[in-house]
């Protein structure tokens, strides 16, 4: 880089002085995120490969094999209908993860558009934000419960139901990023250069939202997997002919004192999965955008 003689960095922070007492995080990849990534990849791999790995048909009823303990034939035992628990968990992961990913994608896409509009158009802002406040006020599980109760439970309707309560968070995030970015001199410079508003929105404002959105998407994914499990557990989720981690546990409710493994194994896998996603989200947040720490929660 060519540097004009005698130039020094004018406002560049002196090392350590401006970040006084708040120490920068370590620069290497931590052990924890690495473990989380591996766990998540393994879970993804085995659920995707469920048809190859599962020892049994997850739907095959076997009245003679009800609530069997683990054996060579049924590595994790069987449920109340004699279905193989391991096979059901492997297949169930597909649905749970799909709902997590689906909700993350739909919420972020919808929230990004609504948030950009709210952040840039004063008139729309007031109305949009009141509606978002209202959606925030309705507890996520209750909203999902009500929507699913009315519209019936399918993978798509569950995704949509959870999306409704996740969108406000995305909208608020995008809006706040846009509001602070539009004060930036480079945005005002673009206005002065005669750049049109839609172009400014797309070229100068939208990119600022990407890093925080990636982080938010991981949190939504984790949260959606949890809510799906709760819905199923309450008996409102997808029917047991499509196994999901949630409805496997729901099936195990009645027998949990007799055979806790019906809840334990799917619960463990689900928790590990959500935990890994959350850890990766935290790591991404710390890496991509240190300012995000302010919006933690």
């Amino acid at each position: 880089m060519t540097r004009t003689l005698g130039e020094t960095d004018a406002v560049a922070p002196q090392p350590g002085v401006s970040r006084f007492l708040s120490l920068p995080g370590s620069t290497r990849i931590g052990i924890l995120p690495a473990i989380a990534a591996i766990v998540l990849l393994v879970i993804l791999a085995v659920t995707i490969c469920a048809p190859l790995l599962a020892p049994h048909d997850p739907l095959a009823l076997s009245p003679t094999n009800r609530l069997k303990p683990p054996s060579a034939d049924f590595p994790l035992g069987t449920d109340a209908f004699g279905r193989d628990l391991l096979s059901r968990i492997l297949y169930g992961g597909q649905v749970s993860l799909f709902i997590g990913l689906g909700t993350a994608v739909v919420s972020v896409a919808a929230g990004l558009i609504i948030g950009l509009v709210a952040g840039f158009f004063r008139l729309a802002d007031a109305i949009i934000m009141r509606v978002m406040d209202a959606f925030m006020a309705i507890p996520a599980v209750l909203l999902a419960v009500a929507l699913v109760a009315v519209h019936g439970a399918s993978v798509v309707s569950v995704i949509i139901a959870i999306t409704f309560s996740e969108i406000p968070r995305v909208v608020r995030l995008v809006r706040s990023v846009v509001l602070s970015a539009r004060e930036e001199p480079y945005v005002e410079a673009a206005i002065s250069l005669g750049t049109r508003m839609p172009t400014i929105l797309w070229r100068h404002l939208m990119p600022n939202t990407l890093a925080p959105l990636i982080v938010q998407a991981t949190y939504i994914c984790a949260s959606a997997i949890l809510i799906e499990a709760i819905l199923s557990f309450l008996g409102l989720g997808i029917g047991t002919e499509t196994p999901s981690w949630g409805n496997i546990m729901a099936d195990g409710r009645t027998y949990f004192l007799v055979k806790p493994s019906l809840i334990f194994w799917p619960g463990l896998l689900l928790s590990l999965c959500v935990l890994s996603i959350n850890i990766l989200g935290d790591t991404a947040r710390d890496r991509l955008d240190p300012r995000m720490r302010k919006r933690e929660g």
């Binding site: 060519t2 020094t8 002196q14 090392p15 350590g16 005002e188 250069l193 005669g194």
Partner: protein, 558 residues
């Protein structure tokens, strides 16, 4: 009378002696140290100025003395810091805490953020006494009120109960000083204590520090980048660069016969308060004509008395092609509001803004866009005025392509412009973070010039830069003006900068223009009392730093 302080310190005991101090990054052992063998001593009653540009290590030196280096990031690798007979570097954390606030204390740059917003200021001063187990109850409060009195705060009982946000910047800095001096420390460290203040307030705070220093015989380590301030207060000057002290000398000696090449360069870069020589009048029609411009911000409303804040009122001026008009004033004077109105980044409440023959003050957005090319802006903060995610080339052609220039053509022009502003054309493929502040400001100027505007508004465009860089950027603006005949509206709080570049100067106060004339007339023979007080408060105003001699001012000013 001598121009510089001539305190004699022969035989006076050292209060603090820093000996061969090295500080390095903890994580990168073996790297070039951040502080490389700094030695200096300060005697009782002496003011030592540590002067240097950003990144020179001056603040780090002070934090090391305080024992407040960020742990885990930086650490002292060798050297001694002797406070009297004790080496501070061998003291435990607990012992250092006991020394801080009692024997060494410190004041900081930003009085706005340096005070805790949720605690009454009286209690914040009181906390110093309490933390050192000295005085309590009525006696403590009496001492707090006494020191508040000594820093000349008015109505001390009321201010004692106030929160920081209820006080002015100057009052907050007085609170900081009261806090620092209540236990009569032997050493006061002042880290750029007046940089965030207006010049008139700066003058008062400098006077206050000197007064209290004389009274208590405190040794002062004063950190600043401003040679003007140094010339006002220093007994001894230490010039720092890249973590080393390159020259130490009594103020007298340093300003009259600087020895080190860097010191000379630094002094040369300080703009003179003496205005540039007048250029011939321009007979062409004005490039920009502003008449009766006003901007009123309404606040309150619902259930609350409506209040109006007049940020600018009845501002009238005209700007000739190829000439520079400066708008000068302190914070809150409305100078930036005028700039933003002229750019239509905020909507003016009333008045006319004639760009050539067209009034753009109330033009609808669509038609305004067509006029945008004619008037461009350069902002203060070089780190925020370029989109960090876009290549320099993309930023430079954004404007021209908006107006239908083919991208290849715009890019070819951008190449030329990079050369013109003193950068290489290869830089077009780089991102802003690869450039220094001064270089970014050059790029921002190139972006403005790419539009071939009639007018450039420079809003504090050199205020964030070190003096040496400031100097170069001012020269660049001047060159461009001579080559291209652009008219420049130059907003600044710094009279020295204004003197260097402006042909005409407007002085603003409380949103109104109080004085208007040629740079010569306004800066050399000011008529309005406010202008006079501004010039009077400019530190080191009688000294021509580059030439190392007095400025002969006409009698009118003094």
């Amino acid at each position: 009378m001598e121009r510089f302080k001539t305190g004699r310190f022969d035989g006076v005991a050292d209060v603090i002696a820093i000996e061969n101090l090295h500080i390095g990054l903890q994580t990168m052992a073996g790297q070039t140290p951040v502080l490389d063998g700094v030695s200096l001593k300060i005697r009782k009653g002496e003011t030592a100025c540590l002067v240097g540009e950003s990144g020179s290590g001056k603040s780090l030196t002070s934090l090391a003395v305080m024992g407040l280096l960020p742990s885990g990031v930086l650490k002292v690798t060798s050297g001694r810091i002797m406070l009297g007979e004790t080496d501070l570097l061998t003291r435990s954390k607990r012992q250092m805490r006991a020394l801080r606030g009692s024997r060494i204390s410190m004041i900081f740059q930003e009085p706005m953020t340096a005070l805790n917003p949720v605690i009454r200021v009286g209690n914040q001063i009181l906390e110093v006494l309490r933390s050192h187990g000295l005085a309590s109850g009525k006696e403590a409060k009496r001492r707090v009120l006494d020191i508040m009195d000594q820093v000349h705060l008015p109505d001390v009982e009321r201010i004692y109960r106030s929160y920081p946000h209820q006080l002015s910047g100057g009052q907050r800095q007085r609170i900081m000083i009261a806090m620092a001096l209540i236990l009569e420390p032997t050493l006061l460290i002042a880290d750029e204590p007046t940089t965030a203040l207006d010049v008139t307030t700066q003058k008062q705070i400098l006077a206050l520090i000197s007064e209290l220093q004389r009274k208590h015989g405190t040794a002062v380590l004063f950190i600043t980048h401003d040679m003007g301030v140094v010339s006002e207060i220093a007994d001894t000057v230490h010039v720092m660069r890249h973590g080393q002290i390159v020259e130490s000398a009594p103020a007298q000696v340093l300003f009259r016969q600087p020895r080190h090449e860097y010191t000379r360069a630094l002094l040369k870069a300080v703009p003179s308060l003496h205005p540039r020589s007048p250029r011939p009048e321009v007979s062409a029609p004005a490039a920009l004509k502003v008449a009766g411009l006003g901007k009123t911000y309404a606040s309150g409303g619902f259930l609350k008395a409506r209040s109006e804040k007049r940020a600018a009122e009845d501002v009238t001026f005209q700007l000739m092609p190829g000439r520079t008009l400066g708008i000068v004033g302190e914070s809150g004077s409305g100078k930036t509001t005028v700039a933003r109105c002229v750019m239509r980044l905020v909507e003016p409440t009333n008045g006319a803004i004639r760009l050539g023959s067209l009034d753009i003050a109330h033009l609808p957005q669509g038609r305004l866009r067509d006029q945008r090319a004619k008037i461009q802006i350069v902002f203060q903060d070089p780190y925020r005025s370029l989109n960090p995610r876009r290549k320099i080339g993309q930023s430079l052609i954004e404007g021209p392509t908006n107006f239908g220039v083919a991208p290849e053509k715009a890019l070819a022009r951008a190449r030329e412009l990079m050369e013109i502003v003193g950068l290489s054309a290869d830089a077009l493929d780089s991102y802003p973070h690869q450039f220094s502040g001064g270089q970014r400001q050059r790029i921002a100027i190139a972006r403005a010039v790419a539009m071939e505007p009639d007018v450039i508004v420079a809003d504090e465009a050199v205020s964030a830069l070190d003096v040496s860089v400031q100097d170069q950027v001012l020269k660049l603006l001047d060159d461009l003006q001579q080559k291209l005949g652009i008219a420049i509206l130059f907003i600044t709080h710094d009279l020295r900068v204004a003197a260097q570049i402006c042909d005409y100067v407007i002085v603003m106060q409380h949103g109104k223009v109080v004085e208007h004339g040629t740079a010569e007339a306004v800066l050399v023979a000011p008529k309005h009392p406010y202008t006079r007080s501004l010039i009077d408060a400019a530190p080191g105003r009688g000294w021509d730093f580059g030439a190392c001699r007095e400025i002969a001012w006409p009698a009118a000013v003094s």
